[in-house]
Structures are given as structure tokens and as C-alpha cells.
């Protein structure tokens, strides 16, 4: 699957297609020699990409478990366990010969074998005496990850249609894909309860990870929590049936991925009959430290009105220290990015959950509501730096900035007069911009969901609605579509501009209101193209700041500079705030209609205890969004850090499926 700006991504091709193209222009997409037709401009036929390129993933997985339980004494037992999973993945990527962007074709095979194993031994001890109960354990664990794999690419093929490395003519260097890790741990926990009402939990764990440098590969993290079931000591009442309050402080340590410590050389290619090497451009870190997240949490769980209503609430604050992330660095250092321990990021928020059984007889109706709000903030960054660039696209960057929420988007914005906010333009009527301005942040103000479940006799029906409010999305798709003139936003001003420039032969000066001989142009009120409404020419004041042009009386002179709408569209590359949208949405996320077969039918089938048949539909309907038609508010260029950018993303897919569950 090709993403973002790849010529092989049909969603990207679509942005280069002129609006009056029809299937007659797109079919056939290749000639008698099976070569793709060449089109004017940068357009690639998406049908070529759909029919001539293919890919496939085949995964085989074996899981094995082995458990031993040894009861040593009363209350003391030893449980040992080995879990292992082996995944073998065979994957290929095929671009047929004859594409306009790659006539020689391409075939790539990726083959990996991953083994995940856990070896664990836990000594459990439980004891009850007087009103106290104690549950404790002491354990050791070894986690192994071993992956081997290769990626082989034939960069040109011998014949069409054959998907095999033996069909390769020229090859890129083989890339090996090891990924190995071992974490050894020792851990212990004690839970003490008093009268089944008060509980205290204390845990401690130490990990040793192979992915960190030897002098900092050991990290310890404890936690402590207290819980009270307060309904046990308040008088019985009909309102609160069950109530629990808890408070905890916990730390979690974390390591990183394979091979982030020592820099090495990789194969770059073959030139002059020499296989050449180059230094890896991502600078590794000989001084990596483990990540540590500390969080404090207070929560309450209640069941009200005889379990008819559940209400839970949690408040939390957590801070992550030394988060290991790749950040971009100045290329003049010799590297493109480096791994760092990133300083401190804090997250705090609330999670609320409410569940109500509105009807609970033969006809059941239950509603579950979730609501949460999270605020993040970058407390400090490494190396006393103020800002780190996480990701960038189209000159819009996603940053971690000190003192700000994580993930600020920054880019170019139209300059404005400092006093009045009047937008400013250049002498030729195009946008005057300021760079490095704050555009927004992908983080939501709050998110929530509501699920309603109904059941009557054997039938059940539930639907889930997902809501996200707040958060910004920058759309690269809009920039490109406007640039290419295929979006309706580019229509205003076209006819006026053609009348002005071609039919009347007006010059740029005349469109700006200046006549041939320096006089005022007579027909200055007529629209001659596109214009920045309410904008003024930017001029420099005495201090070198850009302000709006004013007349002798100090009033702002509004610009009458009419533009070729194409240029106003191109200006989107310099005024990126135009394409930042509110990414709030309300979506119908899931609908499930099910039927549980009646006892009478099941009893006839031996050994079957239960049969349930359901139809599931996902992402069926976007009920509310603020992004333009065709841009999914949940789109993004990446699934990692660096949210808030979208480019040539696929439309959200609706899926409908059937489940049959048999219980023996």
C-alpha cells in the first residue's frame, strides 16, 4: 500500500486529474505494448496503479504454551511458564513493467521470521489471618525477541507479469532485518487487605534490557496504591450499592528498540564496480538512558441504584521522563536525526464512565458513555533546547516545544498589520507571509463515545458513536488539489481573469489599478480575477516591521490588486494556515445486529452450548466533520509521533462483516 505523495498511490493520482476526465480518458490505461499511456503534466493513471501493481502478505503463526504448577505448601506455590510465538511473514510488492514513472518495473520480497518468548517463574504466597489477607508474589521473567529477515529488491525486471526474484534484471543490495532484544526482570508485589474493605498494594520491579548501553541498562520502578470499598462502612442505602475509591502512585520504566546505541555503516550501492558504504544517517546514542513514566491516579468506581447505574471517574497526572525518540537535527552535524532522551512530557486528564441499564426485563436497553480529556505539556527538553522537530511535510512542522502542549504545528501564515490585523499582500498582489507561526495542534479538547445496546429475546442490537472535539489537521491534499486547479475553491475569479488578460489584454499593472501612463486605471472597480479581500499592501515602517499601507490621513489603503486565481492558489504553499482544519468529528463507529439461537435448537445439537450469529458494520457514517469533503478528520501521514498532517490519504473505509460464534 503506497501512501502520501507516492506516484503509486491512487489517492495521490486523483489530485492530478483534471475534473473533466471521464472513464473514456482513463480506459484503456495501456497501449498494445502494455505500456502506460503518458499524460500531460504529472498525472499517472490510477487504474494502472490499481490493476498493474500488487502486493501480498502471508503470515504463519505458531503459538506454544507450557505451564507447570507446583504446590509446595499450603498458601505457597510456584508457577512456571514458557510462552513462545513464532511468526513467519512472507511479503511481496510488485510494480509491473511499463509504468510511466518506472518503465522497468520493480519486485520486492520481504521475508521475516520473528520469535517472541517469555520464560517466567513466580512464587505465590497467600495467607489469611484475623481480618487480614495477604497475597504476595516474587517472580523472575526473561523476554526474548529474535527476528531475522531479508528484504530483496529487483529494481528492474526482465518480463512483465512475473512476480519473482528470478525475473529481476538489476538488484539493490540485500538488506537484512534483524531485531533482537532480551529483557530480564525480577519483580515482586504484596497486596494486603483488611476486613475486605481496605487494601494496600505495593509492587517493585527491576528490568535489565539489552537495548540500552551497559552502564544504564538496569532500571527499577515501584508502585503503591490504596483502595477502599467505602460502601462497606457507610450505612446501607438504595442509592450507592457499591463504591470503591482508589489512589495510586506508579512508575513504569521502559527500554527502547534494537540497535540504537552504536553507529555503523550500511551498503549504499554499487558504483565503479565497488560496493560502497555509508554511515547510518540516524545518529545513535552511546549514552541512552531508560524511559521512566511516573503517574499519580485517583479514581472512584460506583454502582448505583441496585447496580442499575455504574459510574466511574479517574483523575490522573503522569510525567514521562527521558522518552527515547528520534528527533531531527541540523544536517550540518553529519546526520539527519538522532536518538535522544527527550526531557519531560507531562500528561494530565480525566476519564469518566457512566453506564445505565434503562430497561432490564425481557427487553433490555443499556447505555454506556465514555468521556475523557487529556492535556499534554512539554516540561523540558534535552540539551536545554527549546524546540525539537518531530516530523515535517510541505514545510509544516510538528514540534515538541518547551512549555507548550506536545505536537504544535508550525508553518507560514499570511502577515497581518500589527495594529488592525489587516492581512498584507506584496506589490504584485500575492500573499506576504511570515514563517514559523503557530498553526494549531492535533490534540483533541476531549473525546468520548456512547454505546447503546438493546436486546429482546434472542435478538441484540448495539451501536457505538465516537466523538472527538478539538484538534487541528493540516491537509496536504487540499494544497495539492488547489495547486492543480481541480478543487472548486479555485473557480472564483477565473472567468474575470480570462476576460481581463486574454480578451481585454490588460496588463498586471492595470489589474493593480495603475494605468499605462502611471494614471489611475479607469475601470478599477471591475473584478479582474481573484483578490485577497480586505487586504492592504505591506510596507516597511521606520523600525523595519511590515505594516499596512496608509494614506496621508493615516487610513488604511485597501489593495485592489487582482490576481490570476492560479497564483492565489499557489500562494497556499506560503499561507499554510488556509489548509489547517478543525479535526473534530462525530462518527457512527460500529453497529452490531446479532441473534443468539434458542435453547430448543441448540439442545438438538450435541456438544454445542451456544450459537451466536451477528452482523457487524464499522465506520459506517461520519455524522459531523469540519474538514472538506473527502478528507477524513482521522487521516494522517504517520501513525507515530507527528500527528496533525495529512497528505493523499485514503478515504475511510466502511466494512461490514458476519460473525458466527459457536461455544462447545
Amino acid at each position: 500500500m503506497y501512501r502520501n505523495g507516492s506516484q503509486r498511490n491512487p489517492a495521490n493520482n486523483y489530485m492530478y486529474m483534471t475534473p473533466n476526465m471521464s472513464s473514456e480518458n482513463l480506459f484503456p490505461y495501456k497501449d498494445e505494448n502494455n505500456n502506460a499511456f503518458n499524460y500531460e503534466g504529472d498525472f499517472n493513471n490510477p487504474y494502472w496503479n490499481l490493476f498493474e501493481n500488487s502486493n501480498q502478505d502471508v503470515t504463519n503463526r505458531v503459538v506454544a504454551n507450557l505451564t507447570f504448577n507446583w504446590i509446595i505448601l499450603k498458601g505457597l506455590n510456584l508457577k512456571t511458564r514458557i510462552n513462545s510465538a513464532i511468526n513467519k511473514v512472507e511479503r511481496f510488492e510488485f510494480n509491473n513493467m511499463g509504468a510511466s514513472y518506472d518503465p522497468d518495473g520493480l519486485y520486492r520480497e520481504i521475508s521475516t521470521s520473528v520469535r517472541n518468548s517469555n520464560y517466567e517463574a513466580i512464587l505465590n504466597y497467600t495467607k489469611k489471618f484475623n481480618d487480614f489477607s495477604i497475597v504476595s508474589l516474587l517472580g523472575v521473567n526473561r523476554f526474548d525477541l529474535r527476528r531475522s529477515g531479508t528484504r530483496q529488491t529487483a529494481i528492474s525486471l526482465l518480463q512483465r507479469d512475473i512476480k519473482s526474484l528470478s525475473n529481476g534484471d538489476e538488484f539493490a543490495p540485500v538488506i537484512y532485518l534483524p531485531n533482537n532484544k532480551t529483557i530480564n526482570s525480577i519483580f515482586s508485589s504484596i497486596s494486603a487487605g483488611y476486613k475486605d474493605t481496605y487494601f494496600l498494594d505495593i509492587t517493585g520491579r527491576n528490568d535489565w534490557s539489552s537495548t540500552l548501553p551497559s552502564f544504564s541498562n538496569s532500571y527499577f520502578y515501584p508502585s503503591i496504591g490504596a483502595t477502599t470499598i467505602f460502601t462497606k462502612f457507610i450505612p446501607r442505602n438504595d442509592i450507592i450499592t457499591f463504591g470503591k475509591v482508589r489512589a495510586s502512585f506508579a512508575q513504569v520504566g521502559s527500554d527502547t528498540s534494537f540497535d540504537r546505541v552504536i553507529n555503523a555503516y550500511v551498503e549504499g550501492g554499487n558504483y565503479n564496480n565497488t560496493t560502497w558504504l555509508q554511515l547510518q544517517s540516524q545518529r545513535k546514542n552511546l549514552e541512552l538512558k531508560p524511559e521512566l513514566t511516573s503517574s499519580t491516579e485517583i479514581g472512584i468506581e460506583t454502582k448505583l441504584f441496585n447496580n442499575k447505574i455504574s459510574f466511574d471517574a479517574t483523575f490522573y497526572r503522569s510525567s514521562t521522563n527521558n522518552q527515547i525518540i528520534p528527533v531531527q537535527v541540523t544536517p550540518t552535524s553529519g546526520f539527519i536525526s538522532k536518538f535522544i532522551n527527550a526531557g519531560e512530557v507531562q500528561n494530565e486528564g480525566i476519564e469518566l464512565f457512566l453506564s445505565a441499564k434503562i430497561f432490564d426485563n425481557k427487553f433490555k436497553w443499556q447505555t454506556d458513555v465514555n468521556w475523557s480529556k487529556n492535556e499534554s505539556s512539554v516540561v523540558s527538553l534535552a540539551d536545554s533546547v527549546d524546540r525539537l522537530l518531530i516530523r515535517n511535510f510541505f514545510n509544516v512542522g510538528v514540534y515538541a516545544e518547551k512549555g507548550q502542549p506536545f505536537g504544535n504545528l508550525r508553518g507560514n501564515v499570511q502577515a497581518t498589520d500589527p495594529e488592525t490585523g489587516t492581512p498584507l499582500v506584496l506589490r504584485n498582489g500575492r500573499v506576504r507571509f511570515e514563517s514559523d507561526q503557530l498553526l494549531g495542534n492535533a490534540q483533541a479538547d476531549w473525546i468520548g463515545s456512547i454505546r447503546n445496546s438493546f436486546s429482546y429475546k434472542g435478538f441484540s442490537f448495539n451501536f457505538l458513536i465516537d466523538v472527538k472535539m478539538g484538534g487541528d489537521l493540516f491537509s496536504g491534499t487540499m494544497i495539492k488539489s488547489v495547486n492543480h486547479g481541480i478543487h472548486a475553491e479555485t473557480l472564483p475569479g477565473r472567468e474575470e481573469f480570462l476576460l481581463s488578460s486574454i480578451i481585454l489584454g490588460e496588463t498586471n499593472n492595470e489589474r493593480e489599478g495603475i494605468g499605462l501612463f502611471g494614471n489611475d486605471y479607469a475601470d478599477s472597480n471591475r473584478a479582474k480575477g481573484a483578490i485577497y479581500e480586505g487586504a492592504a499592501l505591506g510596507v516597511e515602517d521606520a523600525n523595519g516591521n511590515w505594516v499596512a499601507e496608509r494614506d496621508v490621513n493615516g487610513n488604511i489603503v485597501y489593495s485592489e490588486r487582482w490576481l490570476n486565481p492560479q497564483l492565489k492558489g499557489f500562494d497556499g504553499l506560503q499561507d499554510q494556515s488556509r489548509y489547517v482544519y478543525d479535526a473534530s468529528f462525530v462518527k457512527l463507529r460500529e453497529v452490531v445486529i446479532g441473534y443468539t439461537f434458542q435453547r430448543r435448537i441448540i439442545n438438538k445439537m450435541k456438544k454445542v452450548k451456544n450459537i451466536k450469529l451477528s452482523i457487524v458494520g464499522r465506520d459506517l457514517w461520519t455524522i459531523y466533520r469540519n474538514t472538506p469533503q473527502g478528507i477524513d478528520p482521522e487521516a494522517g501521514t504517520t501513525s507515530g509521533n507527528g500527528q496533525g498532517l495529512e497528505f493523499a490519504s485514503f478515504l475511510p473505509t466502511r466494512s461490514i462483516g458476519v460473525n458466527l460464534k459457536l461455544r462447545f
Binding site: Y119, P178, S210, D259, V266, N272, Q328, V329, T330, D436
Partner: protein, 579 residues
Amino acid sequence: MKLKIQKHKIKAAVLIILFSFSCTNKFEEINTNEFIFSEASPEELFSGVVINTLDLVGGTLNDQFYNTYASYYGGKGGQFNRSFYTESGLDGFWKRFYVNILKNNQDIIDNYENDPAYTNRVYIAKIWKSYVYSILVSTFGPVPYENASKGLNSVKYDSEEFIYTNILEELKEATNNIDVSGDILEQDPIFSGDNSKWKKFANTLRLKIALRISVGFPSLAAQHGSEAIADENNLVSSNSENVTMKWGTEQENWSFNYSRYVNIQANNDVIPYLNFYFILNFKTYKDPRLIAIAEPSSDPITIRDEVFKSGSSTEKITVEYDIPYFGRPLGGSAVVEGWDLDANKNLLNGLPNRSYSQPKRDLFMTPDMTYNIITYAETNFIKAEAKLLEWGGTKSAEQYYYDGIDASFQQYGSTGNAEYKNRDGIKWGTVSIGDKGLFGLVTSGISSEPLDKIVRQRWLASYNQGHDMWCVQKRTRILPLIDQFAPDGSSDLVYAPLSERMIYPPLSEGGLNNEALQEAINALGGNTLYTPLKMNKEYTPIKWETLSDIVEFTQDFAKNFYGDSEDDLIDAGITYKII
């Protein structure tokens, strides 16, 4: 029985516990990728450095703006070619310069500097470092040099003077200390291991850079220039000693032009066309090298011309024939607003792009074409100027000048240099009026001024060395060229004079190395395309809009293309029609 099972259970449990608990030994081994390399030899690194330099300087940058700035290409599109820039393009260039090329090259120096078995190879890496930095500093101005390639978070920019001083010193040391019988760079992509050629390259490059900064830093230039030219044996002295880089026939090594314009069958709007004024200067002096450099038009224009009747020198007849060689002005068909020109008087009016002359396919569009770093012809012209500056040299400037022309003819396999050198304007001490350009404003005439002659010939001989000739024009301001009349709209200019430099990458340097960048901008006095560099000669751009009185479409480029007589047409074997 029960005890046996119990014992088995104990053993199994203990085994599993022991199995699971081992210490941190072998952790380093586990975290090492055995398929990548912990070491790299100079040969393994240098080959990559060269192909990356070739792809960037000879490929991308030439195509994006160097060849346009040198007036080798005309009418090429794209924001760089239209005297503007793209931020992502600039970021990409700096990544390739500093991460792909300079860091890997520096690695050779860092790892092998103290090993006596590698002395020559370390000097070779230092020569290359100086070569690449000479391009960076004359393109951007002050750039990070001393603290670059060290993995630092913040890298300061060094002044032009500092960088030039250091690279000239390094080239001097390399020239003096390479031991011809010492260690050899196996698999040497430039000279196949010939250390004497590396010495010559270092010394010639030293002379070339000295000349480049002779206006901006005269005493530094003279110091190094005179030493370099005094060591005349260590200068490129024949076409077989030309310093070149060559692309390859394997797909990963295809030349930029082949990958971009031939393999994908690019459409006529994007392929490069030769510059109008470049071809004009060949046409005026009936230069045989024209057919070696330019591809005849696939759709030639038919002109009406007045020539002397065959055998006569008084009677004139009108003939009609096809012109196969003509180029595009920088701004394509753009004119300056305010010029009231009658488009019907322009033969090039409305001509489709494909009609213009393209660079010769055999030389400049093959997968394994060559890019010249320094040629023998160019070296002669450099020596000629060095002689004018009184740095030294055993021959006269005039002799070097003629040697350069001969060398260039030989390089292209053209004959007729004796006749050529005798023509008015080309011959030392003579003057020519030349042909007027398209707008009647600049001509291909040559004055008797030696510098005019030398630079003009150097320009004609150095096709595709876009960066070098851009620097020559910035230093001398003497080539007869017009400015870019179709600048990119974001530049807010009606026409754009020749850029003094290229701007710093705003996103990667501004976002990631901002403090050092701002200091550099303060020292330079700005960060636009027109902020002058110290190496550039001071210059007042022409105000083209004030020339509306004298501007008119002139068709000299097509007049008397083969000569002023019908006999010339017959000699050249051209089919013509008498009107």
C-alpha cells in the same frame, strides 16, 4: 510413585527458573546488528562520496539552477530556475551535501588520518572536502565548516574568508605531500589510482579557486594563485588529464538527464533547452563546436534571408532555408512589462518548446555521460587570467588564450580552430560588433579587452559546468547576458537579476540550528538571493524597463546563419529556395 512425580516437578521447575534467569552477559552481542558494518575502508566510502557528489552537483543542482544561472539553459521551469526557491529543495540539497557527502568523506579523514599506510588516501579525501566546500561557499556564502560533521547539536557558520583560507591551505598541503609512490586508492573512480593526477587536480583546483576569489580577497588569491601557477608541472596539461566524474550504465548510476528526461520520456515542457545567447555566440563566429554541443531542432524554423548571389560580392538575392540551431531566452517568451513590442516581428513568437535546440543527446543525455570538474581548456583560460593578474606563468596571456581554444576544439573533436582563431573578435587584439540579441539590447560582440575574450571563450568551452560559470559571471560581470524576465511570482519581482547566492534552508537550519543561522545572516547582512557575497564583484543591475525606447525584436540570430553568401549555403550543403 508420588515422590518420583514430585521430583520431576521440582527438577522441571528449577530448570525453568534457571533457564529464565541469566544475567546481562551477551547483551552487547544481542544488540549488535551483524549484517551492517562496523568499519569501512576509504575505497568503500569514497566511491559513495563521488557518486553522491556527481548526482548532486552535476545532476540536481545543474538542472535546478546552476545551468540557468550560467545561461546555458533557457526557459527552464521550476521555482529555482525562475529565480526563487523551494524550502524542501533547499533542505534536500543541504542533507545531500552534509550527510551523504561531507560526513562520509570526513569519516575517511577521521579514521585514517593517523595511519601512515593511508597518507595519500587521506589527502585525497581532503582534496575532495575542499572541492565540495568550494562549491558550498561560493553558492551560499558563509556555511558551517570547522564544526560540521561532528555530530554537534548546534553548528556555527564560518566566514567566506575563513573557509577559503582553509581550503586553499589544504589543497596546497595535498599538492606538496602526496607521495606518488605511496599508497594507492584502489577502485579510484576519478583517476584509477594515479596519484600524480591527484596532485595535479589539487594544484589546478587551488589555482581555480584563487582566481575565483581574486576580486573578493585579492591578497589571499594572489598568494595561492602565484604559488600554484609557479608549479606549472602540477597543472592539468592535456585533455587526457581532464578531471571528470562519470555516471554509469547500471540503473542506480544513471545520469540525472537520462533518468529524468530520456527513460521516462518526459514531455516537452520540462526537458532542458539551450540558452538563446549561448547559441548566439556560437552562431556569430561560425563556431564548429556548435554541432558537437547542440542537437539540431526537430522542428526548425524557416527564414527568409538576404545573401550575396553565388560568386558575387555586390548582387544580393533573397533565399529561404531552415535554421536548425537557436536557443530560448532565460524567461522563455517573457518580456518586460512596459516594452511595447510587436510580437509579429519575432520569429520565435508562438514557437512550440520542442523546436528549440537541446543539448547534444550523445554527450549529455546518455546514462553514463561525463561531468567535467576541470578541463585542460578551462585551465588555460584560468592561466591566461592569472597572467593578466601578474601571478606568473611561463607563456603570455595571449598564448594561454589560444591554447585554451585549441584544447576545447580537441575536447569536442571539432576541426577548424585555425580559421576560428583568426576571426574578428576572436583574434587577440581585434574587435567584433557581433550579432544583436533577441531584444536588440545585448550583442555577441567581443571587445579588444583581454578579459572579455578570455571569459567569453571560457564560457563557450565550459558547457554544463553551470556552477563554475555562474561564479565567473559573479566575479567579472562581463558576459553579455539578459536577466530572468519571468521570475517566479513569489519573488515579487518583475524581472530578476542574476542571483548573488542561494539562500539558506529555512526549515532545517531555521528550525534546527537557528542560533548559528541568525548569527550568519547578521554577519552576511541578509538572507536573500541578492545579498552579495564577498567574492562577487559589485554591480548595479540593469533597469530593463527604462530601455523601452531602444528595445525591439531583432532577428540577428537567424540572419546569415551559414554566411553572407549563397556560396556558404552551397558549401554547407543546405537546401534552399531562391525567392
